[in-house]
Amino acid sequence: MRVIRTPRYVDVEITAACNQRCSYCYFFDNPEVPYHDLPLGEWLSFFEELGRCGVMRVTLQGGEPFMRGDLREVISGVVENRMRFAVLSNGTLIDDSMAAFIARTNRCDQVQVSVDGPCARIHDATRGRGSFDAAIAGLKRLQSHSIPVGVRVTISRHNVGHLEETARFLLEDLGLARFGTNSAGYIGTCRRHADELLLDPALHAEAMQALVRIAGRYPGRVLANAGPLADALTWRKMLDAAGCGAGTFDDGGRLTGCGCHFTTCAVRADGVIIPCVLLAHMEMGRINKDSLEAVWNNSPVLAELRSRSSIELKDFEYCRACLYSPYCTGSCPAMAYTQSRRVNAPSPDGCLRRFLDSGGRPEDIP
C-alpha cells in the first residue's frame, strides 16, 4: 500500500498524569515508558508543525487530558493550526466552563468518556470510588453544550453480566447516539489484575451473545473495533466460510489486522514519537527535534509495521494447521507484542482457534 506524505491523524498523550488508577489501564505500568510531561511551549511548537503537515485531527489523551491546567491553551494551539480535535477522558474533571470552551471552538469531533456500567457499583469496581457519579456529571455537561459525546465500555469480569442495563442506561437514559465496546486486554496495569478482569471463554461467549442481541435491538448504535462484539461478527463469518469451504478472504491469510500505521501515528507525554499509543516502547523520534514528515516516511519501525500485510499466517506454527487462517487477519500488533514480544506476529486476542481450543464452542458464537 502506498504511504501518504504525512499522517492524517495524530494521537497525542498530552499528559502522563491521571486522577484515577483503573485496574485495566493500558497506559500505566509499562516498564519501557518514562512517565513525565512536556511544557506547553513544546506542544504549541509541535502543533505548528502538524499544521504545516496538513494533519486533520489530533486526539488528545493521557493519562487524563483534563488534568492539564493549560488544556485550553493546548486546544487553542490545535485550533489555530487548522486542525480538529477529539479528547479521550474519564470525564470526571469536566466542569461547565471547560465544556463551554470546547463547544466554542466548534472543532471538536468528540469527547469520549469511559463508562463501564449502569451504576456506581459496577463502574467504580474497576475505576475507583466516586468515579461513576463524576463521569456522568461530566458527560452531561458536555451534552448540555451540544458537544458530540462518545462512550467506550470496556468489558471485564466486573460488568460482563450487566451489558443489557449498561446499553439501556447509555442509549435510553442518557440519550447517546451510540457507544463503543472493547474488552480489557493483557497490557499495562491490567497485567497485574488479569485474573480479576480478563474474560475466560465462557464469559467471552456470554459477552458476544449479549452484545449481538443488544446490537440487534439498537441497530447501528453499538460499535466495536475489537473485543467480544467485533470477535462475534468476525468469527461468525469465519465459521460460515470454513463450513462451506469458501476461498480466502481478500484480507485473509496475512497480517492485515491493523492499518493504522498508514494514516496515524502517536506521541507520548514525554514527546517521543511512537507508531501507536499501544506500542509505546517503539521510539521513532522526538517532537521538535526530528521532523515528523521524515519520521513518517523513513522510520524503520513504521516500515516494519507497514510490511505486516505481506507476512503470511502459514509462517506461524500455531496458524499453519488452522482451518480458519484463510479468513483471519492476525488482529492487533500491539496485543501480539504484549503477549509474545513480537509485533509482526498474530495476536492471541481475537484468535478464533484459540477460543475454540480453550473451551469455546462454535455454537457460542451468535
Binding site: 501518504i4 496538513g54 485550533v79 466548534n106 469531533d109
Partner: protein, 96 residues
C-alpha cells in the same frame, strides 16, 4: 459561480497533497473534505481572488496534457462544488 468569477479560497481550508496524484482539501470548521487530482490542486493553487475561472481554466489547459475541449465547464463544476461546501468564496467587485 460563473466563468468570470474570481474564486477566493477560504483561508482555513487545508490542502493535503498526499501523493503525486492525490490530494485532499479539508475544511476544519465543517469537517468537509474533498478528494482531488493534480488538476484540482492546480485550480486550488491558482485561485487567489484575482484570477477568473476562465483564466484558471486556460492555465490548466496549458499545464496539463490531454485536456479536452470544454474543460472550462469542468473547472466551473469543480469550483461550484467547492463553493457549495464553503471552500471558495467570490472576490468582491469581481466581474461577473
Amino acid at each position: 459561480m460563473k466563468l468570470d468569477d474570481a474564486p477566493v479560497p477560504n483561508p482555513v481550508v487545508v490542502l493535503r497533497e498526499e501523493s503525486d496524484d492525490w490530494a485532499i482539501l479539508f475544511n476544519p470548521d465543517t469537517s468537509a473534505a474533498v478528494g482531488t487530482n493534480p488538476v484540482g490542486v492546480e485550480i486550488w493553487k491558482q485561485a487567489d481572488g484575482t484570477r477568473s475561472l476562465r483564466d484558471i481554466a486556460a492555465t490548466v489547459a496549458r499545464r496539463f496534457s490531454n485536456v479536452p475541449e470544454g474543460a472550462s465547464g469542468e473547472v466551473l463544476s469543480f469550483a461550484d462544488e467547492l463553493a457549495r461546501d464553503g471552500f471558495f468564496g467570490v472576490a468582491e467587485g469581481a466581474e461577473g
